[in-house]
Each structure stands twice: as C-alpha cells, then as structure tokens.
Symmetry: C2
Amino acid sequence: MNEQEFLAAYDPGAYPSVAVTVDVVALTIRDGVLHLLLIRRGEQPYAGRWALPGGFVRPDEDLSAAARRELAEETGLDGEPLRRVHVEQLASYGAPDRDPRMRVVSVAHLAFAPDLPDATAGTDAAEATWVPVTELDNRQLAFDHGQIVTDGLERARSKLEYTPLATRFLAPEFTIAELRAVYETVWGDQLHAGNFHRKVLSVPGFVESTGASTERGGSRGGPRSRLYRAGDARLLHPALLRPAREEAVR
Amino acid sequence: MNEQEFLAAYDPGAYPSVAVTVDVVALTIRDGVLHLLLIRRGEQPYAGRWALPGGFVRPDEDLSAAARRELAEETGLDGEPLRRVHVEQLASYGAPDRDPRMRVVSVAHLAFAPDLPDATAGTDAAEATWVPVTELDNRQLAFDHGQIVTDGLERARSKLEYTPLATRFLAPEFTIAELRAVYETVWGDQLHAGNFHRKVLSVPGFVESTGASTERGGSRGGPRSRLYRAGDARLLHPALLRPAREEAVR
DNA sequence: CGGAGAACATCTCAAGCTGAGAAGAACCTA
DNA sequence: TAGGTTCTTCTCAGCTTGAGATGTTCTCCG
C-alpha cells in the first residue's frame, strides 16, 4: 500500500475524538492598571461565570489564527489596531475532566495589547469586559481558567525581562517614563527611574529615538520627555531583571 | 435548563473533531554527545522516515501522562529510571495540513534523560534509536518534526541558563566537571572551567556537597573531584548565561 | 619507578555592570 | 511667582564577570 492508497482508505473516526479550543489571556494597561479581558458565559456549563475568551478551532484554521479571531470577535478589533496586538502561544491544557461536556484540549494564548476601546460582546458571550487583575482573586473563573491566567501572568512578567514586548502595551511612540510604568504595572514593583533610564538606552535595539519630544510636560509637572519607538531587537541583551524574589527560587 | 439537564442533552459530535497527539523531544548525553530519540516509522504516512516518538492521547489520560507513556514505550524505561526523566510541555503544533490523514494537533513535550540504555522498539515503531543531534541535518524528519526538534533544542539550551535541569542529564551524584560537560555539550561551546566552578558554587541551591569524592581521578589524569548532588533550587539566581550570540538578538 | 601531561580547585585582577543617591533643569498647578 | 514634580544625567561604592595563573593531585606511559 503506497501513501496515496493509504490515505484514500483512511478512516479518521478510528481515533479517539477530542475537541480542540483556543483560549486567550489578553492583557492591556488602562490608567496604569493591568487589565485582563474576561467574558461572562451565557451558556452552560458555567453559565454566568467569568471565563477567558476562546472557542473551538475551525477545521482549516491555524491555532494562532484561531486565537486572533477569538480576540477580534470579543474586542471588535480589526485591521491595524489588531495587527499591533502581540499574540503568542502560552501552553496547552488537557486534563481529562477540565470540561464536563467532553474531552477538550485548550491551546492557551497570551496577548499583549495597547490600551484598547471597551470590549464588544461577541456571539457566544453575554458580556465582555476588561477586569483589573487585582480583582481576580474574588472571581471564580470557569473551567481551569484561573490556572491559565496565573500561568499567563507569570509568562508576561518573565517576558518583559528578556524581550522588548513591553513596548506592545504602548502607542508606537512613547517616553521612557511610559515604558517604565509598563514594567512597574506588570511587575507590581517600583523601579529606580534613573537606573531604568540608563539601562533601557544601553540595551542595543530596545528603543530608538524619534528626535521629538512630548508637547507638554507631565500632568503633575516636570520637563517634556523625549519620544522613542521600538527598536529592532527581538531579545534584550543584557536582560532587564526583576528585583530578586527569594521565594520564587526554591 | 440547568447544568445537569444541559449535559444530559449535550451532543459531542456537534463540534469539529480533531485528533490530539503528543510527541516527545527526548534528549540525553552519550559519550559527551547530545542525542535525540528517533523512531523509524513503520506505517503510512511517511513510512520509513524518522520521526519523534509519540502517539494519540488516550481518552482518560493527561497530556503529560501521555508523553511519559510514549517515552516509556519507546525506551523500555520503567520505575525509578523513568521517574528520573524530566518531562515538560514544549508547545503545540496544529497547522491544518501538518498531517495528511486528518486534522491533528500535537502537544510536543521536552524530556531530559540521564544516559539511557539503547532504545527498545515500541509497538508502532519499526526501530527506535538515539541519534546525535549533529547528524539531524541529513535526515528529513516526518511531519513538522524538524521544526519541533529545533524548538526543543532552543528551549533546552535556554532552560540550562536559568534552571538546574542540567543535573537531569547526570546520575544522582556528579562532579562539577561533569556538570560543565553537560553545558558544553548542549550549548556547543567551551566554558572557562575556573569561572564555571565559581559560579555553580555561588548560586544558592544549585548543587550541594555530598562530602565524598570520586574513587579515581579523570581518565587522562588530574586529581579526584568532589561529588555533588542537585540542590533544592528550581530557578538559578543569578542565571548562568550563554556566551553572547549577537546574531540571536536581532 | 619516574617524568610528562592533564585536570581540579582556588586565587588574582581589571573591566563592566548594578543599586542607591543626588543634582540641575524644565515644567505644571495653584 | 512659588512650590512641587519629573526628566535626565552623574557619581560612587560594591558586586559580578572574563581571563589568566598557580599549586596540587592524579593517570598514563616509557
């Protein structure tokens, strides 16, 4: 039997069937607070509970395309603004009992978005909103989405260390102070302004100067700041390390 | 309709069916050379080609359990030796056309194993062998396994930087020189012996002394070396960074 | 049996980087 | 205009890094 004959005779039903979904941990920063996109489920199971945006992967759709589509559906985003959102694969979650309906393997994705307009409820969702991550403790998310969010946040914090993805939370042109605010928001730590400034400018390809400055100083005073745009580095070398966290090591 | 009624009426066939497999990038070091476990496929498609060990996830099986099972089947490993193998999720691969038979999403895993006995051919496989990664360029792997291996190797190299996983390539007790050999093998770079020694001992929880020394010196001379075992750190802080690779940054 | 060569473990030193503080100037609000 | 805030740059001590050297222990081979 050659390959063509084999494929013609092949019966897909012979293998155990599993549903594959994508879920998206979409992060943005609004008013200096890290927000996560959540959907209030309109259907069983977990009707009324908050959950990550996501859904079934379509037959001819790539995993990352499915993640972008779900994100677009829930946020109403399209075109250039959607292109500016960074989406990467996070991990897959496939415990046999994670969905009471049937065996579902979810390929979770992580998205970094600049400050976005209010979310638009999609087809499957009763409601879609940006929720501050500090308020997540109170909400019991559906399925294993609590774990997925925890993993996504840790990944996001870690990615800021060695990639320039912090710029993805900002407009195309930004100041060093705005960039520092992203790090402080995601890491939940105050950083030394002077040292941060020195470090950012010393990492090759992290940011490049536009030559311009802001029109006005900060709202509470201070001089105008210079504007930068993202450079061409894909990795920060050397990295910007988080303040040491003893407890995380052991 | 409450949740119970909903589940009773639920029809799993209503959703697009996808097969979910696991594939394993299993690495070990034999005679100072990094080896990858490969299977020669006995069936269509890609019959006769080399491929990663892997297979369908069973209905009640966790993803990581499936990866360990596939690894056990192909290596003949069991019990304590199998427990000593580190297995972690790598990424999922789900391009619509990656398998000509049907839509298959593969959850790839990465395994670090101490020097293992020769592989035993499993049920699906015509042949299973450890192949030096330097010889991979010549072989056209089945499916998208070439890409998976590339991603796995990069992940392995990177993981050595900030986790103590290098110890997983070694016996429970090892010398600093053996540990250094792991880094040199995986990174493909010579390291400064003195500096490596200083660094390893200075990272809290990386290794702990057993008090003992080797029975003999090295095969080509030199004093006996002290023996260490893995410490309790899960992250190396500060990390052991690879020699800078300019080209990797942009 | 003895010398050559190899490797372990430690030390030295210059260069670079980091964290902490400070200072000058620009700018906002009141 | 005064006071407070922020941007940006500078200083400096302490630490880490990379490179080389040293003394010692051991194996191999003649």
